[in-house]
């Protein structure tokens, strides 16, 4: 039969119909449809779940491991939830004396730092130009050899004093190991990065004659007067302060604590405060003295404390009969509410009301430390605020302020120094701390780079950095970059590729904080001594080593007295030995808290020359500080002029610190960056806050680009009109502008530190800068 067209069509149509019908009568088509759906949902290449490639998170045994977070100085207890050997979540540790179950956004995002692509996988050696980000992997032996050789050569050449270490802390075994290393090696240059602690420790030392950091009994205070402290924005130990804030906000309305915020900008703290008093930036000290004026004038101060336990309140005369002005007279004459109103811009009436409310409160507390407390600040400003606490007799009392010691641990054997070490250690410090000019100060973290750039380029031949990111966090980034360029050998012990590591010659990656043992001394601002213990929660994810071990290996390889200064087998042995009998409870509980600790009574509390709380600082003369004028011995208002010419730079730029944006040694993890508001970051540009009035003056509008310029640098930014900022002031968030890390953080915004320079405090040499003059122009 010939296949004509018609038969063909009939065959095709018939067959197709039959095929369709037949296939429909089988289950396999339904089955295939179902399977295709599942495939399309989970396995189809385009729909594959990102990098997971079909390997979805596996189930396993759920366990919890306790440790301590060291991403900021807050030192919260954490509980890590693990599934099998994976850490899947970080939660606040219930019952931990710092944070009792709470956690901050940075702490909760810690696993992104553990498993993130910003981890340094192994020792790295720079191969390209510095700052190009080109590194090659090398073995640990090679890396350590390199350090040993470089440091050994310097030591041989008698240049041991040109080695410096920058760390984020000087307490705890690892920072002390670095300090010990320098001592044995022969260098005085141990530098701690800047914080408000620098100044507060000095103020406490001068006024109370105590060593130790400041401790605030926030929980029991019922009137909190904050001079620009971002109480709920990361100041002190963030979770602890937020919990204290909740205590203030609990109970009957009339019994609740009062919070007053003094700040030129409506920060979150200001917004949550009962009263917000915007004052001209940098005039906090004047306001504190104005309040003191009212308190003294109206005799609202604690007469018992002032009368029996203070020195220099009233005018006094020394043995030679010379009369000195007391704090009372200074305040009464210089800081009338009217005068202060003029300086601060806060009406005299408000000063009066505030002073009365503060002094009459049951347990008032004045707190100091700008923002998160990441800048040193002015000594006199700190002293004036502390003087307010003294006026209300608020020292070493419940709800008050005290100088808090650390949990005692075993001391280490004295270092046997050889001649090189001895001569090296006696050389002046590179940053000038402890010199004739700044005899009181221990570290001047913002100054070493200025010194180097000021004609001492060879002063540092080798720099070791651990637990800090000075390249990013130090003020005046351009100066820091220049100083870094002049250092021939930079070693970073960083876990993540931070700015310093990025510009280092050698990276010896430390274990991540969830992978290692380390002791963590009392978090900043806490009123009771606590010792926390970092414990390995997961096994090391990369070829990393504990910085303590690495440093000891380096020391041992150098031989001689340097090696013999480190008699321990490894870091863990050292840690156990140092903790002594506390090790047992530390290992079991993960922390030690000295619950029974109480600050000493007033009669025994002060170690000043007068044995009292000193309004008049006699220690200045003892230490050889050149004060010059009489008023300089008293807490007084010494304006800190922001850098820049008012004619060129008519506005004032102040850094703002956000809870959701880490601005310290740790880069912001993606989760935290994701929480930033639309008015803080947009694509790769940050927003500066400008009052609509100011914006109108300069023709700026919401969401538009502008050029922000200061004496230190300029940057393109976006403008956010914000009614909460004082006219004439610009707020710039701190913590953005990273070049290192990776695409989740790098290239976003601008580093506020690059726009702000150092203004040296005349007494301490620390940076007292609270802002900088700036100009903002439309682009």
């Amino acid at each position: 039969m010939k296949l004509d067209r018609r038969t063909f069509i009939e065959l095709i149509v018939g067959f197709s119909a039959g095929a369709g019908g037949g296939f429909m009568a089988t289950p396999v088509n339904w089955k295939l449809m179902d399977d295709m759906t599942i495939w399309s949902q989970e396995l189809w290449p385009r729909y594959q779940l990102g990098g997971l490639k079909g390997s979805l998170p596996q189930q396993g045994k759920v366990t919890h491991a306790d440790s301590v977070c060291n991403l900021c100085p807050g030192g919260c207890g954490i509980t890590v939830r693990k599934v099998g050997d994976r850490a899947t979540k970080i939660e606040g540790r219930e019952g931990y004396p710092v944070n009792d179950g709470g956690i901050c956004p940075l702490g909760a995002a810690g696993l992104q730092l553990l498993y993130g692509p910003w981890r340094i996988p192994s020792p790295l050696k720079r191969i390209g130009k510095r700052g190009s980000g080109n590194f090659e992997k090398i073995s640990w032996d090679e890396a350590i050899n390199e350090v040993v050789q470089k440091l050994g050569n310097l030591r041989q050449k008698g240049q041991s004093h040109t080695v410096a270490c920058i760390l984020g802390s000087d307490e705890g075994t690892v920072p002390r190991l670095f300090d010990r290393f320098l001592t044995a090696y022969g260098s005085p240059n141990f530098i701690r990065t800047a914080s408000a602690e620098d100044t507060y420790e000095l103020a406490l030392g001068l006024m109370q004659g105590t060593t130790g950091s400041v401790g605030y009994d926030l929980e029991r205070a019922n009137f909190i007067l904050s001079f620009g402290s971002g109480l709920i924005e990361g100041w002190g130990s963030p979770v602890r302060v937020i919990q204290a804030h909740s205590t203030w906000r609990s109970g009957d309305l009339k019994d609740r604590a009062t919070v007053v915020q003094i700040e030129p900008r409506l920060s979150n703290t200001a917004a949550k405060a009962d009263n917000w008093h915007p004052i001209n930036p940098g005039t906090e000290a004047a306001l504190a003295l104005g309040l003191a004026h009212v308190i003294i004038k109206e005799s609202l101060y604690n007469a018992d404390f002032i009368g029996k336990h203070t020195f220099g309140f009233e005018d006094w005369s020394d043995s030679s009969g010379k009369t000195y002005m007391g704090f009372k007279r200074l305040v009464r004459t210089e800081y009338t509410p009217e005068a202060v109103a003029k300086i601060t811009g806060l009406p005299a009436k408000k000063i009066l009301t505030l002073a009365r409310a503060f002094a009459k409160a049951k347990r008032p507390l004045a707190v100091w430390g700008r923002g998160k407390g990441t800048v040193s600040g002015s000594l006199y400003e700190c002293m004036t605020v502390h003087a307010l606490n003294a006026l209300t007799g608020n020292i070493n009392k419940p709800g008050g302020v005290s100088a808090r010691p650390q949990v005692a641990t075993r001391s280490w054997p004295e270092v046997e120094r050889d001649a090189t070490a001895l001569s090296g250690s006696r050389r002046p410090r590179i940053d000038g701390a402890g010199s004739n000019r700044y005899p009181l100060t221990r570290y001047l973290p913002d100054r070493w780079s200025q010194v180097m750039n000021g004609g001492k380029a060879g002063a540092i031949q080798a720099l070791l950095v651990h637990g800090a990111d000075p390249y990013f966090t130090t003020l005046d980034s351009a100066a820091v970059a220049k100083a870094f360029d002049a250092i021939p050998f930079v070693v970073s012990f960083s876990t993540c590729l931070d700015e310093t590591a990025y510009h280092a010659d050698l990276i010896l990656p430390n274990h991540h904080y969830l992978e290692r043992w380390e002791d963590l001394p009392t978090p900043v601002g806490l009123q009771k001594p606590i010792l926390g213990m970092l414990r390995p929660v997961v096994s090391p994810q990369f070829d990393t080593r504990h910085a303590g071990d690495v440093l000891m290996t380096i020391a041992k390889s150098m031989g001689g007295s340097v090696a013999s200064a480190f008699p321990w087998d490894d870091y863990e042995t050292l840690l156990k030995e140092t903790m002594g009998d506390k090790w047992g409870s530390l290992e079991a509980a993960g922390y030690i808290v000295n619950e029974g600790y109480k600050p000493s009574a007033w009669s025994k509390a002060f170690g000043t020359p007068s044995g009292k709380f000193e309004f008049y600082i006699t220690a200045f003369d003892q230490a050889g500080v050149k004060i010059g004028k009489d008023v300089g011995y008293l807490p007084h208002y010494e304006p800190v002029q922001p850098e820049g010419n008012p004619a060129t730079y008519p506005l004032i730029l102040i850094p703002t610190e956000l809870m959701r944006l880490a601005d310290g040694a740790v880069g912001n993890p993606p989760f935290c960056t994701k929480t930033l508001e639309e008015t803080e970051l947009k694509k790769n540009d940050l927003f500066v806050e400008v009052n609509p009035k100011t914006a109108a003056d300069y023709g700026l509008s919401e969401g538009h680009h502008a050029m922000l310029e200061t004496a230190k640098g300029k940057a393109k930014v976006l403008v956010h009109l914000f009614e909460g900022i004082m006219p004439g002031v610009i707020g710039i968030p701190k913590g953005l502008g990273h070049a290192a890390y990776d695409d989740y953080l790098a290239g976003k915004g601008v580093n506020a530190n690059s726009l702000i320079g150092v203004v040296e405090d005349p007494v301490t040499g620390l940076s007292a800068a609270w802002g900088v003059r700036a100009k903002l122009t439309r682009v």
């Binding site: 018609r6 295709m36 759906t37 949902q41």
Partner: protein
């Protein structure tokens, strides 16, 4: 037909009509393929790269696509309504335009489904709407009815294809076409039933959103009353859209295809329905103001954010509602070609605007007091993927016109 000058595909033409040269036909089809390719690229981007390629966002889960969907289906309502008038009400003259109404309907409904296929985030799971149907959802009703009605339209379109001169030569197909014609009143009745529901449900889609005071309307039976408004507006504008497309086709073909009296019937009915719709719409607006106030949303707040000012309301009801209604009621205007076309244009634009408002402005209105108003406008991907159906529709119309006996009066109006 002069075989020498006839195009080479003339054997496929309907009996006794003239068509342009094949190369010209091919040329225009090719021209249309330009924008079609842009649309195809946009579609592939949506499917391949996910919907981030659009300007839709979490505040505007619905945008141009859904507004267009609602609009297209309202405009395509001409198909069911003309069918209803022709086969159910039995207005004999309308047989001269009902074929074309069907073609337009097929295109509109295919477009609506195509757009939905791009709009949903997981197109491969689109069938879940049938398989796992939630009968309480307006969208389920819409999906079911649109799909069923699309089947109906295809069945209505089928005899037209079968009547192609060559296909019709095959006995089976000829017979099938014949019998389908016989069944057409039943099919049309089914279509009317389906259309009433889905046209209404589309109006109900925003009407049931009680979390959105701008869109929410109280219920009547199981539907919010926008359900009925939507039906009414669809049948008021559908015929106008049919008139518009017919007019445009005539302009392109360069000849009259449908007699004026047929067009006039549609226009007249459309005008009267539009008046009825407008009365109810104005009533609806008045009641809605009170309804919204009851939940704390003052009337002014709905028109506080530009570009959605009061002009929206005035334009929708006044310029694009009352004016075309007046024009269509007047016999003099209807007889005037320009007047008729302007009236139809305004009418269709009004319905489209209404659909945009009930979809996009609904999403635009912040409900929480601290919600920020953000504006939305579609990007090229959305435009291209929506308009692609216009271009494809044009090709379908060109093919249908060339090869199928769509216009029964063509031969009579244009003797060879």
């Amino acid at each position: 037909m002069d075989s020498a000058s006839a195009p080479f595909d003339s054997a496929l033409f309907p009996e006794g009509v003239k068509r342009c040269k094949f190369k010209w036909f091919l040329f225009w089809v090719a021209v249309l393929h330009g924008p079609i390719m842009v649309g195809v690229i946009g579609t592939l981007m949506c499917w391949g790269l996910a919907l981030n390629v659009t300007y839709l966002n979490n505040n505007y889960p619905f945008g141009l696509w859904i507004a267009a969907d609602l609009g297209i289906i309202a405009l395509g309502g001409g198909a069911f309504f003309t069918g209803f008038l022709r086969y159910v009400v039995n207005i004999e003259e309308l047989k001269n335009i009902v074929n074309y109404a069907v073609v337009i309907g097929v295109i509109c409904y295919a477009a609506a489904q195509g757009i939905l296929g791009i709009d949903i985030g997981q197109p491969l799971r689109g069938w879940f709407i049938f398989w796992h149907a939630n009968v309480h959802s307006m969208l389920t009703e819409v999906a079911f009815c649109i799909t069923c009605y699309f089947m109906v339209l295809c069945i209505e379109y089928l005899p037209l294809i079968l009547e192609n001169r060559q296909i019709n030569k095959l006995g089976f197909f000829h017979g099938l076409a014949h019998h389908l014609h016989g069944a057409m009143p039943t099919i049309a009745a089914v279509g009317v039933f389906l259309s009433f529901f889905h046209q209404g449900s589309l109006g109900g889609v925003p009407g049931v959103l009680y979390g959105r005071p701008f869109a929410f309307r109280e219920g009547f039976l199981v539907w919010p009353w926008t359900f009925f408004l939507a039906i009414l507006s669809a049948i008021a504008c559908g015929p106008c859209f049919t008139i518009l497309v017919t007019w445009f086709t005539e302009k392109c073909a360069g000849k009259q295809l449908v007699k004026k009296n047929v067009i006039d019937i549609l226009a007249k009915i459309s005008g009267r329905l539009l008046v009825l719709y407008l009365i109810l719409k104005i009533l609806d607006t008045i009641v809605w103001v009170g309804l919204a106030k009851g939940v704390g949303a003052p009337f002014s707040s709905f028109y506080a954010n530009q570009p959605y000012g009061y002009w929206v309301l005035i334009t929708e009801i006044g310029i694009l509602g009352i004016i075309p209604a007046m024009l269509l009621l007047s016999e003099r205007v209807r007889r005037n070609e320009a007047g008729l076309i302007i009236a139809c244009l305004l009418n269709c634009a009004g319905i489209f605007m209404n659909r945009w408002i009930i979809v996009v402005q609904t999403c635009a209105q912040p409900v929480m007091s601290f919600d920020k108003f953000v504006s939305y406008h579609p990007n090229w991907v959305e435009y291209a993927t929506t308009l692609v159906f216009v271009w494809v529709g044009a090709v379908v119309i060109m093919l249908s016109y060339r090869y199928l006996p769509i216009f029964p009066q063509e031969k009579e109006l244009n003797p060879l």
